[in-house]
Structures are given as structure tokens and as C-alpha cells.
Assembly symmetry: C2
Homo-oligomer: 411 residues x 2
Amino acid sequence: MVDIAIMGHGVVGSGVAEVVLKNADLIEARAKNGVNIKYILDLREFPGLSYSEKFTKDFNVILNDPEVRVVAEVMGGLHPAYEFTKALLEAGKSVVTSNKELVAEKGSELLKIAEEKNVNYLFEASVGGGIPVLRPIVQCLAANDIFEVQGILNGTTNYIMTQMVTKGVSFEEALAEAQRLGYAEKDPTADIEGHDACRKICILAALAFGKHVNPNIIHTEGITKITSADTQYADFAGCVIKLIGRAKRTEDGKCFVTVYPAMVSRKHQLAQVDDVFNAVLVRGDAVGDVMFYGRGAGKLPTASAVVADIVDCVKHLDARKYLSWEHVEDDFLTDYREATVKMCVRVKANECRESVKAEAEKLFGEILVLGRNGEPQDEIAFITPYAAEKSLLSQLEKLPGTVISTLRILD
Amino acid sequence: MVDIAIMGHGVVGSGVAEVVLKNADLIEARAKNGVNIKYILDLREFPGLSYSEKFTKDFNVILNDPEVRVVAEVMGGLHPAYEFTKALLEAGKSVVTSNKELVAEKGSELLKIAEEKNVNYLFEASVGGGIPVLRPIVQCLAANDIFEVQGILNGTTNYIMTQMVTKGVSFEEALAEAQRLGYAEKDPTADIEGHDACRKICILAALAFGKHVNPNIIHTEGITKITSADTQYADFAGCVIKLIGRAKRTEDGKCFVTVYPAMVSRKHQLAQVDDVFNAVLVRGDAVGDVMFYGRGAGKLPTASAVVADIVDCVKHLDARKYLSWEHVEDDFLTDYREATVKMCVRVKANECRESVKAEAEKLFGEILVLGRNGEPQDEIAFITPYAAEKSLLSQLEKLPGTVISTLRILD
């Protein structure tokens, strides 16, 4: 029997306790060892639970108990999760987590400590909730040169975009519905502004390319500016709009990592991923495209991944797992605006649509003009040919009109 | 540097050599050790390759070389692959394979020998080609009680069904096209009769449920009887037809494992999987539905999985991996005909459609009548309500007509 502790008894933490208790026999068979929850750290009181006696408010009780070999950090946030995790790893305990913010910011440092102490720091739950993603990338695709990862990494925004596309509702209406259903928080900023997706694509990029990616310098656009007009033009072009996290290696060996809403062809595998579901598409030189799909959030799906990591730690109490990435001082990221893209551009003409169209054709060559119901007389939307984003944007300034919105088309 | 051998230099074997040589640096970094192909076993001659000097026709050269620690068996077929694998494991060498026939038939025996000898027998490539499936199920879903696995497990039949559904061609035309493109073999029996999918669902069932499933006793139907009329009725019902391997636990703790073409709602995640792509949907009590998608066959995708297993063996030369399942003498499989299904039934009426419809409504209650272009006057197709398959089939005998075809609807 191995003693573990859970830090945080919120949505995920209570799910971890539930899964460990419910599937105890299965877990014992698979871990080749029983798993005993010895402590749960939370400042709140939880009377009346079958395991109420396990609660403690004192982190040092866990830190100083040599019998506790594995700790699940499911508190979220940078502090004190960072200090706690560091202290636990330094004390020779393995830590598993769903805390994407901490992993994205401090992953390389914490992995290095884990390596030095010959313990594990695992975080399958930090990306894609319960969907197996990180381990498959690192282990099952180990023979591949992975050159791109694309993902729908945030269930809240995907729910909102699905509602906007399928029901034609506005962003505000879809957000309100998501909040009513508990899919969006009262303060939805981290989701709708893309910060949550940003942390996840940084973790994926670090594992795929082997180098730390600082989430604070990643170009991140949320979905708050998407309108029904955008989804209608997308539909005309055979596309839906999705918030996409993307990490891609360029030909010179550098990478760009971005988060932005993009038009996705209905034929693209990610276009089929609706509602709160997440998916990660990985491109490798041998395997081609593979995709992982499932519930990217929620109590039990996320707990499923946390507990799988606990099982892995319990099976390998004295063995190091595979995960690590370099902390590079020099920036291996390149300017995403150098990347070649097609863009959907929506313009309010100064005079008439035709003059904008003529000028756009002069600037870009062949363009694809889109339409929508109730399109104003002075509006035109079109798709450009491929070009470096930077040059596309500077060309657009020459149009005889005002650019209302631009949306990149996902390859 | 760890010496390995490759047995078989066909499509997959040559792909394994190519990936090992091409991504040598990547593999060395990930395996924490270089991988050196010392021998390739094949009875044929391959002059003019950069590695022609590595070929041998003598299995004993590999078996008796103590420096060879890991062997990739990519010969296919039961014999001599079985004898070779057994001898290698008994000699203390790890074996990795793409040989689904051997794993499905002899997996429990070979895993037991591997366990006794403290070496590994890994077979990620045996299901889903390059798609990470087996390891994610065993490791990442370790906290789950997995109660169902559904999969599109054969690229050849999925290509044929996709052509029939999207282009309206006949089975024979689609098969001929698949053969022309190299997606189907000259003798396509193992694919189109479902045997290949059967081996794969047996491996998935064994890993999900922990018990050996004998492929020779699994109810297996191929796609040779599917007609354009079937795909048209399916389309009317908002469905496509896919060859589905399915393993499901019943309430009494037994399982049924089946392979048959089924009508799949376009809203079902597997309906979107087209052409030669494969996908495996896994249902767990904590994680909900997760799906793995990618190329289920082909030289480099399959090699990708074989080489990942080689990397895993090289990293764990003296450690056992997770895989195993019980060889159970008593049959834990239950009769699939006891399972509750909805069926699409196509009937040639003795007298008129209306009399069949009236009798069907008397027998089943509410039915959903389907239509298609050019439907004969005396034909009727309808979908039954849920009932045990056995009882549905015996009820159908009472209809005033001849049942032309039945297709189950996938849940």
C-alpha cells in the first residue's frame, strides 16, 4: 500500500478522491500496489464526507510525512502550488498535477528538480483533461520528427463557437448560455481571451520540440471579437471557426507558437470537434496525422488523467519517467507573422464593393469573394492567396476601405 | 549503442529500417542510447541498399548473438513468427511486433514468457498502425473501468465503405479501385471478410478487460454483402455504414466481442472517419468517450509504432513493461445475440409494403420507415426499436415477406 496526498479539494481534487475510492481494486491491480489517500490539503471544511478525517490545513504535515510518496497537486494557480511542488520534489516525493499554468510557466525547472531527486513530475491532466495526449506524444510517437501540433484546447470557447456556428447566436448569448450550464466561469477571461489554450499549446510545444516555451510571450487572441457575420462568411467558404492553438516548426528549425480563432475547413479533422470536446492533432514525419479526442475538462475526465499519473508513479516509485525538456535561454521561437497563411478579410468599402475587389485583385491576384445573408452594400469579404502574414496585413492597408476583421485559414 | 535485429524486410520491415536510419539522432536522444540495426532476416536478396550487408537468411545468427537485445518481428503470419518469437523471448531478448494475427492468437502465452524472462513483448503497431492506442489505454486510462471499445480497425474496408457512401459505387467497383490504389491486396479476403478487424478488436478487448479473447470464436461479418441500396437507406436515416469492431461489457460482467458492418449516425464520432483512416473509441467510467484517430496501416505509420516500441525496449532493457492479460480457460464471452440493438431491416413483401409495415408495427411497436430513390414497390426498409438481437431476428420471421438484409445501428 502506497500513501498519497491530494492538495486541493475543488472540482478536480474531489474527483481524484472519488475515482481512487471507486476504482480501488482496478487501480491496485494495475499499479501492482494499493493506493491509500492519507491526507487531503484544503483550507475549507468538508464535514460529512466518508473521508472527512483525512483533511488537513497544514502543508507541512504532508511534506514531513516520509510515508507519503506521491502527491496530487490539484489546487491550480501559480502560488502556493509552485512553492509546494518544489518543496515536495526536493523532499523526494513524486508530484502529479492538472495545473497547466504552473507546468507552462515552471515546467522545465520542476522537471529538473524531479530528475535530480530521481522522482517524477507528471502532468497528463494539464492538457486535454482526460484525453491521453502527452504520454502518447512522448512515448508512442518517439520515432517521429514531430513538426506540428494543432489543437482545440479549451472546451468553454469551443462550446461558444459551436453555438455561434450551429445556432447563429451572438458571442454574448453563447457565453451567457455557457455560464448558465457551468461550462464557463463567472469571470471567463482566461478561457475566452485564449490564456488557457495558450498554456496548453506551450506544454505541447515543449514536449514536441524539447524546449521550454514561455506562455507570456506567445501571440494569443481570444474569440471575443468573432461575430455572426464572421461565422456566416466562414460557412459560405465551407468552414467553421475554432479557437486553435498551434505550434509549428519552420524550415530554418525555429518554431512559431500561436493561439487564435481560425477558419477551419469542414473537411479538416478538427472541424468535427464540437461542444466542450477537445482534440489535439499531431503531425509526424513517419506517422502522418494522428488525432486525440475527448472531454478536455470536467471533474471525472480530469481526475482520470491525474489518477493514471498516480498509478504510474506508484508503479515506478524508484524509476524516473521520460518527461523533460530543455530550458533554453535563447529564443527558438520565430515571428508568427513571417508564416505563410491564407486570410479571410472583411472590409467596409469607402465607396463601393467593386472598387475594393478590383484593388484586392491587383494586390493579391486571385481572391475568393464570400457572401452572407443581409450583407451590407458597402461590405465585402474575401479569401486571399497564401502569403506571409506580415506582407498580407501591410497590403490590406492599401485597400480603399476599412478592414473590419481578418481570420486566418487553418491548413 | 544497443544492437537490434529486424525479421522481415517487406513493407513494414523496410519502413522500420528507414525510420531507424533517418531519425537516428532523435531516437538516440529519446532512447538515451543509440540503436544499431545489426541484422535483417529475410530469405530474399536486397542488393544495392545502403545496408545490404546486414541481411541474413539464418534466424539462429540473431538468436545466438548475445549482443542483440531487441528484435522487431515484422514478418506477419503465425508461422514461423510464433516459433521465432518464443525462442527469442526465451533467450532473454525483447520482441516488438506489428503481427496482429500472432498477438491475437498467442498473445497471452508470449506475454507470459516475456514476464518470466523479464523482457518485453510490445505490439503497439498491431492495432491502428501508427495511431497510439494500446499504450494510452493501458497507461493513460489506468484509473478507468473501461466498459466498451468500438473501432474502425481496417483501412481497406473503410476506404471501400467511404467510396460506396460518398460516390454511390457498388462494392465490387470500390474494391477494384482499392486494389488499383494498393489499399487492398490481390486476395482481399482477410480485410473484406473482417478477419483483420477481428484480430484487432480481440487485442483491444484483451487489454481493456484483462482477459484473452480467442479470435476464432468471435462473430465476424465482412462487408461483401453491403449494397448501394443499404447505403441509401442508411443515408435516409442520417447514417453511414462502417465496419465496426466492438467489445462491450454487459451488466453481468461478461463481454461480447463482434465485428460487423453497422449503421453509424453521422453525429457519432466514428462516422467522420473516412478513407483509409482508422479510429478507436474507448469508453471509461471516469474519462467518458475518448477517440484515437490516424492512419491504420502503411509502411511509415506502422514503422512509427514499431520503432517507438523499440525505443521503449531500449530504454527499459532490464525493466518489464506493463502489458499483460490473463489466459482464462472459462469463456467470459457472452452471446452477442443477447445484446440489445436497433436494427435496420429491408424486406421484400409477399404482397404489398403496407402489409409488412402493419405486421412490423404489430410486432415491434413504433418503427421508422426509410426510403430511397428507385425503391421497388414491394420493398420496405425500417428501423426497429431496441430489443435483444435474438428476439428481433425471430420476430422478423413472422413478417409477410422475405428479409433481404439486416444492419445493426451502432450506439
